[in-house]
Amino acid sequence: MGRKKKQVTLIDLECYTFCYELIYSDKDTRDCFFDYLITTHNEEAIYFIQKVQQFKKKDLTNNKKAKLAIEIFNCYLKDGGKYELNLSSKDRQHIKEEYEKVGQLDNCETCLLSDNIFTALEQQIHLSLKEANFPHFIKSPKFRELAMKQTTDFLDKIGFRMNAKKIDIIQRLLGSSSSIIASPSTQSLASLDGSMDSFRLSESLTGPIIDPNAFLRGESSNGWKLLDKHSHITVEDFRFMACKVFEKDSKAQDMSKFFQNLVGDPSADSTSRRQSAPNLASKSASYSERSMSLSVNNSPSLQRYNSENNNVRKISIDSSSNVTEYFEDMWTKSEKKTSNYTLYSYDLKTSMFDEADTDVMESLKNIHIFKTEVEYPYNVDFVVETFARSQYRIDFDNMLKESFSLDFMHVHQPPSEGEVRREEVSSSMLQEVWRFSYSLLNLKDRSFIVESSLMYDEQNRAYLLLKKSVDNVIIDDSDCVRGRLLQLMVFERKEKEKTIMTDFVVLDMKDSVNNIIFENCVAKRAKEFYDKGMSALKANMELIKHNFPTPSDSDRILETLVNNNKCGYCKLGFKLRTNNNSDLDDLDDL
């Protein structure tokens, strides 16, 4: 295969499907499985299997065999036996008859049963274990712990790699498992003398600004709180994404670098080198400012280095550094500013096509990355709450079937099949459909089934909405190509009455889409964000001014916001209303 042996990671485990028979035939994993069975109170099954193995041994004397047969019956097969197996009435009856037929229970001297008397039962037990326990076992910490001590060839021994091609382009893009991403090289880092200062600076700043460990643990010592713990997207997801970006999930700066990559502006200039103390920085720096200050790759020397060494494999990445270098080396950013929004798009550098292997490049061709920034002249709490209200759903009529409808996230539970079919949805799940109305090009629409999670950064009064695509088969999108998406939206308070929304999106379109068409769609989307968003905000402000009652809202986000408000985690922009006699569903009327 020529694939490099490497230590198993959680990501690898997710790419494999494991086979009961193979796991059972490997001593280490079998022992681990047995341990697991004992802790989940299934010891009778393994003890029975072990006894049957003994019974089948050729060197066992007939006398011992007889005793063993009686022990097996009394312990495992008889009603009320010490380790009675979970057998059907029929199987139990059948084996009982076999014993009775030869009078074995009254004869402990000679074994009169055939050697394979237990074969069918043994198979039955294996089948039960395979159906009922094995699926839980391979997800258990016990198994994961064992597997993660091994190299990937171990996984090949006990399972099969699933859809390796599909694994996730995003993982390849952001992660470091792909061949285009080099392993850490401290030597070359050391040669980048000019960049070291900024690197140190970044290190000193990252920790205190956001304590990602606290965040990862779901704790709140540094202002990070999960707004809604019931979301599909868990802390683990964030950890997983951070892993993809940084390999090591335990590192304190991972999360901030993660946000730096997603939200930051890596091309920012030397204003990043503000020498403010960490604590001050944490209070004053906005996300983009912070990411500037965290950015290590803006250093002129690094840029020079990059330009002189087109081969990305040589780029130095210390494990404590970040992959922004790769990102920057692979993608080139362009900016388009209008009066209402700023759009950044990232394109693959042409030099990449000479460097990376063709498989990866083929995959990357379908990847689109862009960032949208929109400013709303309203308070951040108000903006989020407005967008969270179901009556202010923003429809991107022509292009996006459903989008940016926080009301679609009632974050606790996934939508029911019925709800999804009726498209009334719901939950942490929503569907974005990109419609391409260019019939001549025979271009299929793209559909993204997305689950989302909203978080609140108390300290910075910023809301973070993470969206990721999921493999949900309930939603029928048979007319579309199912794409994948990773998205982070940040609603950040700029001033009391000013909110910046940054939307960073990575799309895997699953097939190539003409760039001009794509750009057109992205620009349209940005425009809609502004226009429709403003229209919703204006309408809601009117409501507040006139104190109109609004429909009662069972949306879970609001409940959560209210709960968080009560707990002092966040403050709502204004009082919630509960009456239901307003007919303001149609935004166009407003």
């Binding site: 997710e14 499907t17 069975l37 989940t40 109170h41 299934n42 009778e44 099954a45 009603d79 009320g80 036996g81 010490k82 009675e84 197996l85 979970n86 057998l87 059907s88 009435s89 029929k90 139990r92 009856q93 089948l127 039960s128 274990l129 159906e131 009922a132 326990n133 699926p135 839980h136 699933m162 713990k229 019931h230 979301s231 599909h232 606790h412 539970q413 996934p414 029911s416 099949e417 019925g418 942490s428 689950e451 999921v470 493999d471 949900n472 088969v473 309930i474 709960n563």
Partner: protein
């Protein structure tokens, strides 16, 4: 009712299904201190095939655990197909026991293969979809199916046979409904945790329900904060999987009695769920309910509400020790996503309210 209840079929006293509180409580507290705990343990109990694991899977699905993703359901392909084969084998075997011939010769050939050599990998071949479906529609098999109370058969049989065209395909990925409807006999103990607000987590514990499995329940009795007991409404004409001569309703009542009157549970909220309402309503339309319950008014036997009321009384009559105001009774159709969601939400609310009351 005593504090120690011995499983009735245990003549040698080895099946201590329930016991008095022991001192080695791993959580270091009884139900009385539950409100102070950050974790609320809820046990799903009930006899075999009452629907505990189906409800458990639904709850997993509500919380986006386990089966929400294609990838995780792909791992269950073999289990769904095993269900198909098990059902087919049981039906074919039943035609022999009940002496009902399979009518079409080609279906008899299929039946032979099912019994002798067919395995789950074969079902990737779409031609099996047609063959199995033709067997399913055979008059002999249909007749055996009509008499399914006389042998053991999964509730999902019809559903699986009606979906063979999807299942017998190399591109098959089980849907959520497929997974929910797949029968897997639970052995041992499985649990999941999720947040319920106020900084608390709910730990839901699913267990096996057959007789031998019940002795494992005791491992959780000391730490339990609420019990959800499931019983199947549609089992009124069925006998046990593990003891074919024993009426399921009698077993359910007996287990319920032992659990609800156990001293360990006096202070914990107790929910009785009458599950499989959907199947039950279908069943009483064609089968006599009153035949199995001499005390029930025959004139009412097609009225599901009256039947359920009667069953409720039967079960509530078993309660001799547990305070009735901490018992809640509900009906459920665990295969129905919406219904499960709603009922489980109510159950959760009931448990939380009871905890606050304490």
């Amino acid at each position: 009712m005593g504090n120690i209840v011995v499983s009735p079929h245990d003549k040698e006293g080895q099946h201590h299904m329930m016991a008095t509180p022991t001192s080695n409580n791993p959580n270091g507290g009884s139900a009385a201190t539950a409100k102070n705990k950050s974790e609320i343990t809820v046990l799903l109990l009930g006899a075999g095939e009452s629907g505990k694991s189906t409800l458990f899977k639904q709850v997993q699905f509500f919380h986006g655990v386990g089966i929400t993703h294609d990838q995780e359901r792909i791992e269950l392909i073999e289990i769904v197909r095993l269900n198909v084969l098990e059902n087919a084998k049981n039906l074919v075997a039943a035609t022999q026991h009940l002496n009902i011939p399979i009518e079409q010769p080609e279906n008899r050939e299929t039946a032979k293969l099912i019994i002798n050599s067919l395995n789950t990998n074969d079902l990737e071949d779409p031609s099996w979809s047609k063959r199995l479906y033709s067997l399913w529609k055979d008059a002999g098999i249909q007749k055996a199916y009509e008499n399914r109370e006389k042998f053991q058969l999964y509730d999902s049989t019809e559903y699986l046979f009606e979906n063979l065209d999807r299942i017998c395909s190399d591109k098959y990925v089980p849907t959520v409904v497929d997974v929910i409807r797949t029968r897997t006999k639970t052995i041992g103990i499985t649990d999941m945790k999720f947040d319920v607000g106020d900084g608390k987590q709910l730990r839901l514990v699913d267990v096996g329900g057959q007789r031998n499995e019940r002795r494992k329940w005791i491992h959780f009795f000391n730490t339990v904060d609420a019990v959800v007991f499931l019983t199947s409404l549609s089992e009124f004409d069925l006998n046990l999987y593990e003891d074919n001569g024993y009426w399921r309703v009698k077993e359910s009542l007996r287990v319920f009695n032992e659990v609800v009157n156990n001293a360990l549970f006096y202070k914990v909220p107790f929910v009785l769920l009458f599950n499989k309402r959907d199947l039950f309503e279908k069943k009483i339309a064609t089968k006599s309910f009153s035949k199995y319950f001499s005390g029930f008014n025959e004139a009412e036997e097609k009225n599901p509400v009256a039947c359920i009321e009667y069953m409720t009384k039967l079960f509530l009559n078993e309660i001799t020790e547990h305070p009735l105001d901490t018992v809640s009774v509900k009906t459920l159709s665990a295969i129905d996503h919406d219904n499960s969601k709603q009922v489980f939400e109510e159950v959760k609310q009931f448990i939380m309210t009871q905890q606050h009351r304490e």
